[in-house]
């Protein structure tokens, strides 16, 4: 129960295609994030799942049942809106009770369930207030309560934390993880905040301009991004990317550009012919202080527990994560190295990930 399947789902608004041929299979009880920049179609996807938008093509199934023609209220999903969408003329208690009222739950049971939910969300003292008499965090909890009270097959959450301040957001993140563990239902969580997606999800669906880029667990998304779009979107500071040429060499291939030569090997052997590639390396895999390469420091940003260093080498810009006690200053020359085992190789033309990995130490060009 509660599994969700999108099959070749497409949504067009006039000539503008907001979601393109989406295939997505979400397991029952899974916590899945839809992650992507603003306007990439996350909300549209969620609204189609809730039945608030009708797909232009394709089918959506919930719990094994195709729901394309099922009204939103009959899909047994609960939704938390980015705006919370609390009913302004109803009290907190009436807001939370509303879905039960629509299900025809008897008054006594309704009140008991509302009280139970209010208890878990610490809303007990606020039941008689109107939404506009609440703080943002309290409103958010009421919205959550209205979803929880129904015990639906799946929870759909559209950026529920985006209106909260940083501290409350961190707190609610933990609460939501805990909540998911406790109710064990399917969660589909829309966010453009990679930290939220990385910390909370079983799997992340990264979207860009209406196209699903990658659907995988957070670790895989981070360590093996499917393409340059995902690589650039996930991780902060973003992955360093440089152009390079792939040339065949004894026992594999070598990536070379004006800065470096990096031996590469394909797991199955055979690196393919010579071509243009993009070479990526995460800031934490840039090692400052020693190595065959050298760069000129531009900016040093100490954050407390680490130092972000921006520098230039052979005309390319790099960002490195260095230790908190990093002592270089702008203008100085610094030697550096790259963790060759953690190089990412992408096709220069398509941006797709190439199954190549570093096979030995990096040397200067």
């Amino acid at each position: 129960m509660g599994g969700i399947v999108f099959s070749r789902v497409r949504k067009a608004f006039g000539s503008f295609v907001a979601v393109k041929d989406l295939d997505l299979e979400i397991g029952a009880g899974e916590f899945v994030s839809l992650l992507g920049p603003s306007g990439c179609g996350k909300t549209t996807t969620l609204r189609m799942l809730a039945g608030l938008e009708f797909p232009t093509a394709g089918t959506i199934a919930i719990g094994g049942r195709v729901v394309n023609d099922v009204a939103p209220g009959k899909r047994n999903v609960a939704m938390v809106f980015q705006s919370y969408a609390l009913y302004p003329h109803m009290t907190v208690g009436e807001n939370i009770a509303y879905p039960l009222r629509k299900q025809g739950v008897a008054r006594a049971e309704r009140e008991a369930r509302v009280r139970a939910v209010a208890e878990t969300l610490q809303l007990g003292a606020l039941l008689d207030r109107r939404p506009k008499q609440l703080s943002g965090g309290q409103q958010q909890r009421v919205a959550l309560g209205r979803a929880l009270v129904r015990e639906p097959a799946a929870f759909l959450l559209d950026e529920p934390l985006s209106n909260l301040d940083a501290k409350l957001r961190a707190h609610m993140r933990a609460e939501l993880i805990e909540l998911h563990r406790r109710v064990g239902k399917t969660f589909v969580y829309v966010t453009h905040d990679q930290l939220e997606a990385m910390t909370m999800s079983d799997r992340i669906a990264v979207m860009h301009e209406g196209v699903l880029q990658q659907f995988a667990p957070p670790r895989v998304i981070y360590d093996q991004p499917a393409n340059l779009t995902v690589a650039g979107f996930i991780g902060s500071p973003a992955m360093n990317v440089m152009d390079a040429e792939l040339v065949a060499a004894a026992g594999g291939a070598v990536a070379a550009n004006g800065l470096l030569r990096a031996p590469l090997a394909a797991p199955g052997g055979g690196a393919g012919g010579a071509r243009t590639i993009r070479l990526g390396v995460r800031p934490e895999d840039v090692l400052l202080g020693a190595g065959p390469l050298s760069g000129r420091i531009r900016v040093v940003e100490p954050t407390g527990h680490e130092t972000i260093v921006a520098f230039e080498a052979a005309g390319a810009s790099f960002v490195a994560r260095a230790a908190a006690d990093f002592s270089g200053a702008p203008g100085e020359t610094v030697p550096f190295d790259l963790r060759s085992a953690r190089l990412h190789v992408f096709d220069g033309a398509t941006g797709g990930r190439l199954e190549l990995s570093g096979a030995g130490p990096i040397s200067a060009a």
């Binding site: 809106f81 919370y84 969408a85």
Partner: protein, 276 residues
């Protein structure tokens, strides 16, 4: 100092305007309770020497005033009910549903509102005769609806555009049907707009004169506006006291309606359930 002066001047001006507006009303009430003999005395008496309600009794006893009053009430309530119901549903449709020509319809509605209502009188009259409802209150209800509805639609449309889409979406996901979402969520939010529209439409139909004059010529269906005129035109000399008494009584339903609806308007059904 100039600030104080400006405030004094502003206050004087404001009170001047109030007096200008209020004096005729005051005079109307005063005149309605003066005996006929006191009316044309020079200089006029501001406070009547004798207060009499004989004009009110004569209106009720000797003239069809009460019939006109009943007609006006039936006419205005029916028109208001029809217009508000249709405009509320129509505005909701114009705001929420996506269908071809939606914007065009909205523009067309505005256009009909811009049309001077005089040009529609003859076609409407012929139409009423043709469908056999000429000379009835019903024909006036239809006629008034034709010019009250476009404006009501526009008024309510702008009100409903201010209601966040998410509220209705939330109700739908929570298990409401479209109609239930409309009744449970949209209506309460649109209430201030609906009340404004109600007041507007009621006043419009209560005071309308031209259509009533052309479309109806029997006492059985005549509303107050034309009724009182006919009453007075029939007499050789205009009985001002009678006219003023009629005018005072014509104001009463409007005042009651205002007093009743005003409390709803100011009770504060503001938005605020939606952030961001």
């Amino acid at each position: 100092m100039p600030r104080l002066l400006r405030r004094i001047l502003f206050n004087l001006f404001a009170w001047g305007v109030v007096l200008l507006v209020a004096f005729p009303l005051f005079w109307m009430i005063i005149t309605s309770v003066k005996p006929q003999s006191e009316l044309f005395r020079i200089p006029p008496t501001v406070w009547p020497e004798t207060v009499t309600f004989e004009h009110y009794w004569r209106l009720i006893d000797e003239t069809p005033f009460l019939v006109y009053m009943r007609n006006s009430l039936v006419l205005s309530f029916s028109t208001t009910f029809l217009v508000v119901v249709v405009a509320t549903l129509g505005a909701h449709s114009l705001v929420r549903f996506r269908y071809p020509g939606r914007e065009r319809i909205a523009q067309l509605v505005l256009f009909t509102y811009l049309l001077p209502s005089v040009v529609l009188i003859l076609p409407l009259y012929l139409l009423m005769v043709w469908i056999g409802v000429a000379n009835t209150i019903f024909s006036l209800v239809i006629a008034y609806t034709t010019f009250a509805l476009p404006y009501a639609l526009w008024l309510l449309r702008s009100f409903m555009q201010g209601i966040p889409d998410d509220l209705e979406s939330a109700a739908l996901v929570d298990g409401a049907t479209r109609m239930e979402a409309f009744v449970d969520v949209i209506l309460p939010q649109a209430l201030p707009g609906i009340i404004s529209t109600t007041i507007f439409t009621f006043i419009l139909s209560w005071n309308e004169y031209l259509y009533a004059l052309v479309l109806v010529n029997t006492d059985l269906a005549r509303p107050l506006t034309t009724g009182v005129m006919t009453m007075l035109l029939g007499a050789f000399n205009i009985e001002w006291s009678l006219l003023m008494a009629a005018a005072v009584m014509m104001c009463v339903p409007l005042i009651i309606l205002f007093a009743f609806l005003q409390s709803y308007l100011t009770r504060g059904f503001g938005a605020g359930g939606v952030k961001g």
